[in-house]
Amino acid sequence: MKKLAYIIIGFGLWMIFTFKLSWENIIVGILVSTITVFLFGKYFVQDLSKLLEPKRYYWFIVYLFVFIWECIKANFDVAYRVLHPDLPIKPGIVKTRTTLKTDVAKTTLANSITMTPGTITMDIINDDIYIHWIYVRSTDPNEYGERIVGKFEKYIKKIFE
């Protein structure tokens, strides 16, 4: 049952990539997606029942708009720091904590942090996230934790858990 759902997802991707409706293309797509799922199916998402709740998709669309806005802000921030004659940077590596549990949620959080203004996720060990920050505004853990992690964490918890 799980493998059938994966085959349908892979076949949809194949049809979008090739963008051609003919019998040969459909047969080759079904073959390729079946072979791929039987080779790599054990690395995908484990819990399929979460894919069928429409509330998660609504929160995902809201989160997408927040993420795009943060990404554009990040680009203007880094461009300003590069073009300024005095080079206003104050880099450092800070440590903060997360309350997310599943692997997919942690991966999404790390990728989102990398795209926000001036931060790159360096490592995740258990529940600690190590972040390289190009301009350290404060050394108080609660304040910068809220600034970096807080605004994404509540959306990701609604989507994946």
């Binding site: 880094v78 880099p91 450092g92 990728n111 790159i120 996720t121 360096m122 490592d123 190590y130 050394t139």
Partner: protein, 137 residues
């Protein structure tokens, strides 16, 4: 009308790619250069791909350009994390302007057997090669 809009988006994309390259030259150490190379270049390339989608419409070309955007996002973030962590484990130091470094006193995983170079081996170089100690002196 659509071609004018596509040309504007293409110009914005090329400009942001130029800013990213200027950052690669000006910033002082590896980690800060990685910041500019990740963010500016990703938004610039996404804007170029969107201009391709607007110019060609929803044909096979435009849909492929639209699919390339999320793939570019995932690959850029994972590559930035892998490069930063790998250069820190290899022993390249942070620059002179650095304020804090919490990653120095981290606890390694007890279970799972993390494969990393221990401290005493890192001083000598694990294979006898002298350890790289930063560019700016």
């Amino acid at each position: 009308m659509t071609s004018i809009f596509a040309a504007i988006l293409l110009g914005i994309g090329v400009l942001f790619n130029l800013f990213g390259c200027i950052g690669l030259v000006r910033l002082p150490d590896v980690y800060n250069r990685l910041q500019s190379a990740t963010k500016c270049v990703t938004l610039g390339t996404c804007s170029i791909l969107l201009s391709v989608l607007i110019y060609y419409g929803f044909n096979s070309i435009g849909v492929k350009a639209l699919i390339a955007i999320p793939l570019l996002f995932f690959s850029a973030t994972v590559a930035a994390h892998a490069l930063a962590r790998g250069s820190y484990q290899f022993g390249i130091r942070l620059g002179e302007k650095t304020v804090v470094d919490h990653y120095k006193d981290r606890k390694t995983l007890e279970e799972g057997g993390k494969n990393e170079i221990s401290e005493d081996k890192r001083d000598q170089g694990s294979t006898g090669i002298p350890v790289h100690t930063g560019i700016h002196k």
